[in-house]
């Protein structure tokens, strides 16, 4: 687990407890996530993986209170430094956003305001949270751009987002997310929309900045390889539930949940050369067609009659948690 020089409090930085998110629809509610619980310690990097539609992004948005207020129902508790974000007054929560918790989005092309310069958007974040003069804010914005590797930041600060490439825009997003030195950054598939060569650079950048600032990172991705490289802990989500929560090395060696195993086995490069790349048959069930028992049973090669009942997330081999009836009897293939 990544330790930082910062003083650690006894409790984790972020504690998510029984987070259930649903969306109102005509005639009822559609449940997206159910009883999601996990912790993020200060300075720790946690990867959240799962296929599309597993509730990763919705969970990330809920942590920042960014879900549409009119339709989203968020239940449970999100404790940040011991305080529940869900019951906190809106104004106070707003002061945390961008200052203590910030977010990097998937689409750098559309996540920046097109009619304001990069510098205006950076200093605006800073000046809405800290009392700094215009000149000082500008200096810090230039420094922030420099830190994320944007060449000639003195001139580029006055340019508009359309004048930046996708990778450079994502660097700007990262600079903006980090400018107030937050304690937690939620990165929602920050490299999915970028070229492969740029992806590696952005991930390296995020990792080194998180190291140097001691920033905790919640890394939402569907790329297990990235998690293996950057994170110390892995949260596997399936169909709106956490199915495994374990140190990355443990999962790579011996996954505790058949779904984690399936994700690992379908990584290209890890399977045998020339053989067919394994895949998980079927797809994530739609939110309104969830099976009553284990949500993975229809796609699970190890499904048994017992799986008709819903398993709970239970401790497994020390620091791990797994949601599977057969976790103790199965020996699943990892990536190593």
């Amino acid at each position: 687990m990544a330790q930082t020089s910062e003083a650690r409090t006894d409790s984790p930085l972020l504690e998510v407890r029984d987070l259930s998110i649903s969306f109102a629809r005509p005639g009822g509610e559609t449940s997206i996530t159910r009883n999601v619980s996990f912790d993020v310690n200060a300075g720790e990097r946690v990867g959240v993986v799962g296929e599309s539609g597993c509730g990763k992004t919705v969970t990330g948005l809920a942590l920042l209170g960014l879900l549409p207020r009119r339709t989203a129902r968020v239940r449970g508790r999100i404790l940040f430094q011991g305080r529940d974000l869900l019951t906190m007054p809106a104004r106070e929560f707003r002061r945390l956003r961008g200052r203590d918790i910030s977010m990097i989005f998937q689409e750098p092309m559309s996540a920046l305001d097109p009619v304001f310069t990069v510098g205006e958007q950076l200093t605006e974040t800073l000046r809405s949270h800290e009392k700094v003069s215009r000149a000082e804010a500008r200096e810090r914005a230039i420094a922030a751009l420099e830190e994320v590797g944007i060449p000639s930041p003195h001139t580029r600060i006055d340019e508009y987002p359309y004048q930046f490439s996708g990778g450079m825009r994502q660097r700007v997003m990262i600079a903006m997310a980090l400018i107030c030195r937050p304690k937690l950054v939620i990165a929602d598939e920050p490299t999915t929309a970028l070229d492969v060569t740029v992806q590696a650079q952005i991930i390296d950048l995020l990792r080194s900045l998180s190291d140097s600032h001691g920033t905790a990172l919640l890394f939402i991705t569907h790329d297990l390889g990235v998690v293996a490289e950057t994170c110390s802990r892995l949260l596997t989500m399936y169909a709106g539930e956490v199915v495994e929560n374990a140190p990355v090395d443990d999962v790579l060696l011996r996954p505790g949940h058949p779904y984690s195993s399936g994700l690992l086995r379908s990584l290209p490069g890890l399977s045998e050369r020339g053989s067919r790349l394994p895949s998980i048959p079927g797809r994530v069930p739609a939110p309104d067609q969830m099976p009553a028992g284990c949500r993975f049973q229809q796609r699970c090669p190890h499904a048994a009659p017992l799986c008709e009942q819903h398993p709970e997330l239970e401790p497994f081999q020390g620091p791990r948690e797994v949601r599977c009836w057969r976790k103790d009897e199965l020996t699943l293939t990892g990536a190593v």
Partner: protein, 319 residues
């Protein structure tokens, strides 16, 4: 560098304006030929002999082939001479200078009213989208789009001029003589003209604001911890300003055209009514001059709109 791009744009647009002006005046000239009646007969007076009419026709060049007549008009206009009215003998330039300010005052007034009333309504509807208030405003806006302005003008006259006597029913004061009086006289006509404008501005502003509010970059602004007020007033409005400006530009042009009808209802000596009179009498130099003034105005308004858009949205110059 940006300014050079803009200079080039202005020059290009002014050059483009020339064929538009020629074409517009040519089309109007053609249409004039289709109108029944003969201005020579009118000029000759009652019981004029056939010879007298032919004489007048020759004197005014009306016996010339159609293309020659247009060519002569165009040649003179290019030299700055719009000719003289056939019936009154007043130089057309003077007619335009006398009547056009009145029309412009009404049109600008109506456009301003559309903005001043339409923008708050649009913002109100957008910030409460889906509510009863939003439904009410948008319902009223649909009504406003459908309302014929000449009819609404007559209703206004009935209540505000005849019943309550707050505003004069008809007539006009030149804005150069007494601007306050002119505005007072222009109020009812502007109100009659602005219903469509209010509705259009409110609807467009609402839909573009709603779209912006749900965009990804506004989500980023929330993630940054900005206040909802700053997000709406600074980021929201700057993002929709290009849309709004384009709507207002088009609206002004539409209102300018609509003054023709409203000037008739309120008996305003504007350019619209002088076009109507001149058309009825076949006084083509007046029609041509007035149309030229209107087309030039529309072109200038469009150019200014586009220039302002490039100031508001940096991407427009990017190509």
């Amino acid at each position: 560098m940006v300014t050079r791009v803009k200079q080039r744009m202005v020059v290009a647009r002014l050059l483009q304006a020339i064929p538009i002006l020629v074409l517009a005046t040519f089309i109007v000239f053609c249409l004039m030929q289709l109108i029944p009646g003969d201005v020579a007969v009118t000029l000759a007076g009652e019981n004029a002999s056939v010879e007298r009419i032919a004489q007048i026709r020759q004197a005014y060049g009306l016996d010339q082939p159609f293309f020659v007549q247009y060519g002569q008009w165009l040649w003179q206009a290019a030299g700055g001479d719009l000719g003289t009215a056939l019936l009154s003998g007043e130089p057309v330039a003077q007619t335009v200078a006398r009547t056009f300010p009145n029309t412009l005052l009404v049109a600008v007034y109506a456009t301003l009213l559309s903005i001043v009333i339409g923008v708050p309504l649009g913002i109100l509807a957008a910030t409460r989208s889906g509510s009863k208030l939003d439904g009410g405003i948008m319902g009223a806006a649909s009504l406003g789009v459908a309302l014929p302005n000449f009819w609404f003008g007559m209703i206004l006259v009935l209540y505000f001029a005849l019943t309550f006597k707050w505003f004069p029913a008809t007539g006009f004061v030149s804005p150069f003589e007494d601007f306050g009086q002119a505005v007072w006289y222009a109020t009812l006509p502007a109100l009659a003209l602005c219903t469509n404008g209010i509705a259009e501005v409110a609807r467009q502003l609402r839909s573009s604001l709603v779209e912006i509010q749900s965009s990804q970059h506004v989500r980023t602004l929330h993630a940054k911890g900005l206040s909802p007020a700053r997000i709406l007033w600074l980021h929201g409005l700057k993002n929709v300003s290009v849309n709004l400006l384009t709507v207002v530009g088009l609206l002004f042009n539409k209102i300018l055209a609509a003054t023709v009808v409203v000037e008739a209802v309120f008996a305003i000596p504007g350019i619209g009514s002088s076009i109507v009179n001149a058309v009825l009498q076949g006084d083509f130099p007046v029609v041509q001059g007035a149309v030229l003034a209107m087309v030039v105005t529309v072109i200038v308004v469009n150019l200014v709109t586009d220039l302002l858009c490039t100031l508001l949205d940096p991407r427009i110059n990017a190509s």
